[in-house]
């Protein structure tokens, strides 16, 4: 019993984390059709902000808020430097600029901070555990699930019920036409990046809560996860990204629990083969998203 509860909570909390990260990526990737390789560096920014503020007089919650704010600013910065100048001209060019930006930020961290891991301040609640029906569950996992639920609800309201979501999609597909309808297209696209930064910041806090320290390369893994979750869930669909996040977590957790240790090292090969299979079965991902308006 305890084993199963443990398994379920693990899968759910990991899934929540993945879903948040995927959502932040998909808002840029799915809506604006731009792959933001510098997305992981937003998490890095969150981490280093926390580290730099650590030991200071601020209460943790304030530090966390500042850190998330920095990620939001980072998102906006990404847009200004890497996307605005090249957007809609060439998908590959955007990919490379965002990658360049990602190297740039990582090396800046290396140059100005340190190549070594730096410990970030964390509140006690992140390291406490609860016992429940024979399972020991870190509180952090429960917090992750709760935060994800709140964020996802907030976010789906924002995208569905407000005109901002529509305006974003419009501005992304036909920039000039959107402006001709009075939509401040630049601002709208910037806000997509800001939201992406917000999600990265929040996901980053939770991610850091697991690791406890930050290194310049910390963004690589979350980026990869978000990327894959987005893809299996459905590249153009926001609920798809969430589903993809949970599914990926389920796969990873299950493999982690089920594979014997000598096969466990091939876990990544299994995971990615599964991803390939899913894509072959459904090239557009599990949830198709809004039907495309393509026709002859």
């Amino acid at each position: 019993m305890g084993f199963y509860i443990q398994y379920v909570v693990d899968a759910l909390s990991l899934g929540s984390l993945y879903a948040l990260m995927a959502l932040g990526l998909v808002i840029v990737y799915g809506i604006l059709k731009l792959v933001n390789f510098a997305y992981g560096e937003l998490i890095m920014i969150t981490g280093y902000t926390l580290f730099l503020l650590g030991g200071g007089p601020l209460p943790w919650l304030v530090m966390a808020m500042v850190a998330v704010l920095m990620a939001v600013l980072g998102g906006i910065l990404t847009e200004y430097t890497a996307f605005r100048p090249v957007r809609s001209k060439s998908v590959t060019a955007v990919l490379i600029t965002s990658f360049a930006l990602s190297t740039l930020l990582q090396n800046a961290a290396l140059l100005f901070i340190s190549p070594r891991a730096r410990t970030v301040p964390l509140p006690d609640i992140f390291t406490q555990t609860v016992r429940f029906a024979g399972a020991t569950i870190p509180l952090r996992n429960l917090i992750t699930i709760a935060v994800a639920v709140v964020m996802l609800a907030l976010f789906s309201w924002l995208m569905r019920r407000t005109i901002l979501g529509l305006a974003m999609r419009a501005a992304a597909t036909k920039f000039t036409m959107a402006r001709m309808l009075g939509i401040p297209a630049n601002l709208v696209i910037t806000s997509a990046f800001a939201i992406s930064g917000l999600l990265a910041g929040v996901a980053g806090l939770l991610w850091l809560g697991r690791i406890g320290s930050v290194v310049p390369g910390i963004g690589g893994e979350p980026l990869l996860i978000a990327f894959i979750a987005t893809v299996i869930g459905g590249m153009r669909s926001l609920p798809g990204a969430v589903l993809g996040g949970y599914l990926l977590a389920l796969i990873v957790t299950t493999l982690n629990y089920a594979l014997p240790p000598d096969l466990l090292k091939f876990k990544d090969a299994f995971t990615f083969s599964l991803v390939i299979l899913i894509l072959l079965w459904r090239p557009d991902g599990l949830l198709r998203g809004p039907a495309t308006g393509q026709r002859t």
């Binding site: 060019a93 090396n107 893809v231 090969a269 002859t296």
Partner: protein
Amino acid sequence: MNKSTPITALCLLVPILALALFAGLAGYPVFARIATLLLINLILVLGLQVFMGNSGILSFAHIAFMAIGAYASSVFSIPLQMRGMVLPELYEPISELTLSPTVAILFGGLMATLIAALVSYPLMRLSDAAAVITSFALLMVIHTITVNWSQVTNGPRTLFGVPAFTTLPVVAVVAALAVLAALAFRQTRTGLLLRALRDDELAAVAMGAHPSRIRWCGFVVSALFAGIAGGLWAHFITSFQPNAFYLKETFLILAMLVIGGAGSVTGAVLGTFLVTLSFEGLRLTETMINTSNLLPLRLVGLTEIVLALAMIMVLVLRPSGLMGAREIGELLISRRRRTPDLP
């Protein structure tokens, strides 16, 4: 054969030979080494261009086929007395097999081609983002296998003892052949159809083109380039580990191709030269600044930062790369034709 192709070929072979001659005769071993690596990268980038440039589909898996070429060629060319130490668990029936480096490198290319042919057909149904991701996943799978298949790859550890065979002249010849092959491929039936599919799949299909079969051909040819490059590289570097064939290298060759202009062979050549030379130039500057103690602090990562900025600049100014989709020969011809029209 397009009438501008010979001109393009000429324009592209000259810098390769010039580089090989200069670096070979300069008598400064670092130059020869950098030139050799540049030309190996060139073969790799040309291979990427064959698929990605013509089909417009970003492929992350290219470097994985380089890995296959490198490992497949090395395993059998490591001298037997070394092999016991490097690959103690190599499977019985093949553990004694030894190939000469030339044969081994060809074998590596062949293995890469074969594996690409086997695994990629179903993937080629996909285009757009799904294709990009599956190629990414393929890279991950092959990487995970190279990291864990200790019997053959020595796991995550370094595989060493590969005989040094690749020299600057050898690479220069292969790179020249690769340029010609890439140019020729562009003009073949498959090359033309790939480019047509890139521009408008629906229209091409409405004329009878078979997308997955055509893309598959392109992908397989591209893997051959990567496999050969991998074999040459392995026999130059002589010791390597799986991490050499991963994201960093992937992005490096992607950047080369995209900065030069993925749509043309000229772009591939230009991008490779430009990125390698500026990277080495910057590195030299960084070293010089640091060793001369001009500055109170040590500059670290400056090369990467400057290069990243330069990359962004290039792409902001020319999003389809420096060359765009046209070959240098085509540009020269159309310029010549236009000139008399001027008043």
